[in-house]
Subunit: 201 residues, 2 copies
């Protein structure tokens, strides 16, 4: 048996239990940008308080009925996976629930990704491939950078790049409140992981 004959583990990801409990207390629909942002910003805040991850929340919503399809929170440290940013978790969950890799597939209503902070480079690409038709952002990338998170290699004109792929972009919805969650996180000595920022250590 050589070194590569091992059996590879199954990757498993589930939302923290506090999320369905919390959502049970929420309304059935979130008719405004502000209401949807309020929900995902609260998720980002609760994610810190519950100790399940970094200060980021997201959600995939139906853009016709404004129902939440799937929430997401940053689970990087609790899941042991650098991939599990809030937006990625929301996209994975929504696609699993709908049984398709394409949330924009024929027969589906349009979907919107709402995120408490502008997507990093990885989540920007993931947004393009997810099939969502709308992106709504709270805090700006520079708000995350201000507390030490790296947004990664994003083109200056990333909003145009999304629009060119048929995805509308709205920024600064509830920015102040979403950015405050980031500030609180670092003030409470929350770990800013993966922030090598140009050093090799």
């Amino acid at each position: 048996m050589n070194s590569t004959s091992q059996i590879f583990p199954q990757f498993q990801l589930e939302l923290p239990q506090w999320i369905p409990d919390f959502l049970q207390q929420q309304p059935a629909t979130f008719p405004t940008h502000e209401a949807r942002m309020e929900l995902v910003t609260t998720l980002s805040k609760l994610n810190i308080e519950q100790g399940t991850g970094g200060p980021f929340g997201a959600g995939i919503f139906r853009a016709d009925t404004y129902q939440l399809v799937a929430p997401g929170v940053n689970l990087v440290m609790s899941s042991g996976s650098s991939i599990t940013h809030a937006e990625i978790v929301a996209i994975m969950m929504a696609q699993q629930m709908l049984g398709s890799h394409d949330l924009g597939a024929a027969g589906f209503p349009p979907h919107e990704l709402v995120t408490s902070c502008e997507p990093c480079a990885m989540c920007l690409g993931a947004t393009c491939w997810s099939g969502v038709r709308h992106l709504v952002c709270g805090a700006r990338g520079c708000d995350a950078e201000a507390i030490g998170f790296d947004e990664g290699p994003k083109p200056q004109d990333w909003r145009t790049a999304l629009e060119q792929r048929g995805i509308t972009v709205i920024v600064d919805i509830g920015r102040q409140k979403a950015a405050q969650v980031l500030k609180n996180y670092v003030e409470q000595n929350g770990e800013v992981y993966n922030s090598r920022q140009g050093t090799s250590e």
Copy 2:
């Protein structure tokens, strides 16, 4: 019970069974860039032949012993998740096997990501956050674009952006062979998914 009180499913991902079977026939180490690229290009080819996904393969290797830590293949259509590009799958698996969200954490050997095709925008960001110290690419992004895949919003100077984060980049290792797998895929009418490329449909 309102619309958001549902229980969210667990996201599960496992490698196709042909991968451990195939790896059992492979050497214990892959000492050259070319040998490592040969392995991941073969994975990309077998992924088409076995019908488990798109024409992309990747692997995380130890950069000291040149052992394979975890392979990855594109599982977008078979897993129903647009996130599961070959590089993402390899990163997820390697981090799960090592029990850390950071392949560059103290106490680990340096790790290298080898991919049969330059990373798209999402996988470029994921590379930054993974903790790998080296990236080795086969086919170019333009080779994937030539058959209709979209590379997404990547900055022109993406290689510099990685180098600035302490990640070395080598391109064009076995490019011709890796690009041929892409050409064969589309000639055999393989599905080029998520290629809206500027249209809203």
